[in-house]
């Protein structure tokens, strides 16, 4: 949390300098780089994780252009690198810098306090709902989408007794025998592959987010390969047998090893949670994501959006936290009845940025510093444009009627 990202000249991302908070959102026109920024964040958090787990040496990604061919390629953003590209990510454990074609890692020698489970949920997620048994199709997708698809399979199996979608009273059930998903409504049942686009888009997002947040809350251990287990056992033995280390130092080192193999936070990165959804359902889905995010203090949620409803909903959640903070005990319980704590967002926990290729300033915060709420922005100005066109046409129509 409170990580700092600076990017210049990287594909659609012109010039950006931002902080990531517990909830961070990006708005802007198509092609302005929202997803690109989200992918960079996902990439650096993953890199931070694997380096802290000692799965790779620090120098591994500094060599042989692996920053481009492995890290950026995972999210299919490697073609965005040009000779002027500058990227700096200041994380909690490492600083990463890409400049003049060279990638470098600086270890900040901070204590590890757990491992992040990072999930990138792409806009094209509905494909996993319709790709039952079509593993070949999924193999054509970027690597990040394959990872999401794998977690969707895990989530379906995890919710064996069924999963309640956050809207319209719908329930998802997975027939593991036939590898078939079903959506149950009040008086109907439909196969997931035949369900509406909104359900196909939101189910994978919601079920994976909830599955992972439960895993984090349960402090699930990272699954290790046999080789990794052997390495870990060997390392533990080395520490315990080292007579030069005091018992307290041994304890601390073992604890660090433990933290490095136990998930304690979900970094959930979602493209357009509102996709294909009616506004009321957008609200329920966003509440679900915020609630999952709140299930652990260390969780983070990053999302991109085109929806003015998303902004209004987030503002409502910030308003809830502001009201709660200023309330007495009786008022607090009344506020919680309107908006439970798990849906409230403290103003210090939110960052919101607008990206605009055509503006003089490419990246601006849209949080009003006085109120802490998201202020008027480009999404609302689109309404003004719509009304201008409407009124122009209206004038012509009126003149025709009065002839």
């Amino acid at each position: 949390m409170n990580e700092h990202l600076t990017v210049k000249s990287f594909g659609p991302v012109k010039d950006l300098d931002i902080m990531f908070k517990k909830v961070t959102l990006f708005i802007g026109d198509q092609g302005t780089g929202k997803s690109c920024v989200a992918k960079l964040f996902s990439m650096f958090k993953w890199l931070e994780k694997v380096l802290s787990q000692k799965k790779y040496k620090l120098s591994y990604f500094e060599q042989y252009n692996r920053f481009k061919t492995k890290l950026c390629a995972y999210h299919s953003i490697e073609s965005f690198i040009d000779e002027n590209s500058y990227i700096k990510f200041e994380g909690n454990l490492y600083d990463f810098l890409y400049e003049n074609g060279v990638f470098s890692v600086i270890d900040k020698s901070q204590d590890i306090n757990g491992i992040s489970k990072i999930m990138y949920i792409p806009a094209e997620r509905s494909i996993v709902s319709v790709a039952e048994n079509k593993s070949k199709l999924l193999k054509e997708l970027p690597a990040s989408s394959e990872t999401f698809s794998d977690e969707f399979v895990n989530a379906k199996k995890f919710f064996q007794s069924g999963y309640n979608l956050p809207f319209e009273g719908l329930r998802f059930e997975y027939d593991s025998l036939n590898d078939t998903g079903w959506i149950h409504g009040a008086d109907y049942k439909v196969r997931l592959i035949n369900a509406s686009s909104g359900i196909q888009s939101s189910l994978p997002m919601c079920i994976v987010s909830e599955y992972l947040s439960v895993k984090i809350s349960d402090k699930e251990e990272v699954k290790l390969s046999k080789e990794e287990k052997d390495k870990l056992e060997k390392r533990v033995a080395e520490i315990m047998q080292n007579e030069e280390l005091s018992n307290s130092i041994k304890d601390m080192m073992i604890r660090q090893l433990s933290y490095a193999n136990r998930y304690n936070r979900l970094i959930n990165i979602v493209e357009e949670p509102e996709l294909n959804l009616f506004p009321r359902s957008q609200m329920e889905v966003l509440k679900s994501l915020i609630s999952n995010n709140a299930s652990s203090d260390e969780n983070m949620l990053v999302f991109t959006t085109h929806s003015p409803y998303s902004l209004a909903i987030i503002n409502t959640m910030i308003m809830g936290a502001k009201a709660y903070a200023n309330a007495n005990d009786e008022q607090k319980s009344q506020i919680e009845a309107i908006l439970p704590l798990k849906y409230q967002i403290k103003k210090e926990d939110i960052a919101a940025y607008r990206l605009a290729s055509s503006d003089a300033v490419y990246c601006q915060t849209v949080i009003n510093p006085k109120t802490g709420l998201i202020s008027k922005n480009e999404l609302d100005s689109a309404s003004d444009d719509i009304m201008r066109v409407f009124n122009s046409l209206y004038q012509y129509y009126a003149k025709a009627l009065t002839k």
């Binding site: 609302d380 009304m387 009126a398 009627l401």
Partner: protein, 205 residues
């Protein structure tokens, strides 16, 4: 009411319609004493809560979100007629509704109803108030001004173009791309053949 111009001569826009005669004895004060005029490029018309009737200024006020903004690029003489509470009062006159004010030039008549005291952005409240404003605007024009001008051999439709405006507080952001308000605009023009707007501004020719 503060005056923007000290010259009290009746402007042509009023004399063309014979408004002083047409609206004589309709209210607490006659047209000749109530009107104000200006030819500046930008004007801010608002519902003055202290005065109790419509007023204007040529300087942008703090409460600009509640103003009806006028652009006058040709510097024509624009006349402000505060109707509700000034020129049109009395139960028999206002039965059926009266709107807040009128802006008048030699070629255009613009009737305005302010609903800037609405603080709720509740959807149903806004539509309800918009419908009420339409009643007030239409009755003022079709029930009072037009027939009284006709009685003085002045056909408003032949002399001027007429449009109608409903003003909500822009800070509520309720009049942006609202499909039901668009529908009210369409209903108004199809029923009455005049234009109705919710965009808090007008550019005079």
């Amino acid at each position: 009411m503060p005056r923007l111009l000290q010259n009290n001569d009746l402007p042509t826009a009023i004399t063309n319609l014979r408004l002083c005669t047409a609206l004589r004895n309709c209210g607490a004060i006659g047209v000749a004493d109530a009107f104000d005029k200006s030819s500046v490029e930008h004007l801010y018309v608002y519902d003055d809560q202290d005065l109790g009737y419509t007023d204007w200024n040529d300087i942008e006020p703090d409460f600009v979100s509640k103003c009806f903004m006028v652009t006058n690029p040709s510097n024509n003489t624009i006349v402000l007629l505060p109707l509700d509470g000034r020129i049109l009062t009395g139960n028999s006159i206002i039965a059926g509704g009266v709107c807040d004010g009128m802006l008048l030039t030699e070629k255009e008549m613009c009737l305005i109803e302010f609903k800037t005291n609405v603080t709720s952005s509740n959807y149903q409240t806004i539509i309800q108030r918009a419908n009420k404003a339409i009643e007030q605007l239409w009755h003022t024009f079709d029930g009072i001004i037009k027939p009284k001008c006709n009685n003085n051999d002045r056909n408003v439709d032949h002399l001027l173009s007429v449009d109608f405006h409903i003003v909500f507080d822009k800070d509520l952001e309720i009049t942006t791309a609202n499909s039901e308000l668009m529908d009210l605009q369409i209903q108004f023009v199809e029923d009455y053949k005049y234009q109705l707007y919710f965009d808090n501004e007008k550019r005079f020719q």
